[in-house]
Symmetry: C2
Subunit: 204 residues, 2 copies
């Protein structure tokens, strides 16, 4: 009776193959040239077969979006235990965010509607909220260690995220003078600036 399970396993493999193929093409040639027919050719099936595994092309992108947010959340959690210093931890998280985007640009693009990708309905997967919460916890830890009070912590997290995302997305369209090494340096500097600002808050 294990024949049914084998079949199920094979189906999952084909499904994963579609996702992988789409990612590879996007990475090599950009999302613009990710085509159902090209994906089909790469997995050695005919185009209609893809619709047995995904409702539409957009469905493939949505699945990769979820995958991206899962990996991102995992990457942020992974650097948590690297250090005990709350400030260094936040710096590491910003760097991890950057590293993820630069190592998986095709995922980052599909996650944030960059690189010619666009959804009718940009959904926010649970993992996205996870990343946010992880960052927030790190920031709370920092504030406690520093003995400062950050009113509206959620806002502070959004500011950090916007800053890093802004540098990444501008870097991706080559709009940062000095290229990627410079952008990475600027993230570090901006984070330190924010630390400085929030440390002196009680004096305002």
């Amino acid at each position: 009776m294990g024949i049914k399970q084998r079949r199920e396993r094979e189906k999952q493999e084909v499904r994963q193959g579609i996702l992988t193929a789409a990612r590879e093409i996007a990475r090599q040639e950009g999302w613009q040239s990710v085509t159902i027919r090209k994906v089909a050719e790469r997995i050695e099936y005919s185009p209609p077969t893809i619709y047995e595994y995904f409702e539409s092309k957009e469905d493939i992108l949505v699945e990769l979006l979820r995958e991206g947010f899962r990996q991102m959340a995992a990457a942020l959690k992974a650097v948590w235990k690297v250090t005990e210093d709350p400030e260094q931890r936040l710096l590491n998280m910003a760097e991890a965010y950057w590293n993820f985007a630069m190592s998986n640009p095709e995922l980052y693009q599909v996650m944030n509607g960059l690189g010619g990708v666009s959804f009718d309905c940009l959904e926010k997967p649970p993992a996205a909220r996870e990343s946010f919460v992880t960052t927030q916890e790190a920031l709370v830890g920092w504030a406690q260690a520093r003995g400062v009070d950050i009113p509206d912590i959620e806002g502070a997290v959004e500011i950090i995220r916007s800053l890093v995302h802004g540098l990444i997305s501008l870097s991706m369209v080559d709009r940062i003078h000095g290229g990627e090494p410079r952008a990475k340096e600027l993230i570090h500097r901006a984070m330190c600036d924010m630390f400085a600002a929030w440390s002196t808050r009680q004096e305002e």
Copy 2:
């Protein structure tokens, strides 16, 4: 001999009509559904006629990109004279940047590769550099008035720009908790945080 000039004027009007039509469709239905045939129908010409005025569809987008950067640069310069206070001036510029993006989302998208737009070659028009320089001059003025030294001013400008752009682009895909009013508020707060950080630089 004014007949040739009239003809030239009419051609410019048709050309402008194409640009306007593309913009309007993008604003109403998104760049995804901007189609040569739809643009043609709106200006009451046949599709091939468009190619008498633009080499390709991408050429239309590039022209709108340039137009966008020109308007942006003008908007930044326009708020320069609103106040003499250097800090308020920078706040006004950040708000003007935000206002421009929210008033002309279709232009902002085409300027930064958002909303499903993507170019083979993202060019940086002269007006883009202009905006950068204007912001830089405002920041230099602020530093002088405050009596602080900002090493690597260009980097500081890129940080400001990334922050504002990050908030805008996340806001456009509805990823800022609290929506647009909240995002606008966060820009103001982040700017003030940056002022605080750079004011206390000499103490580090």
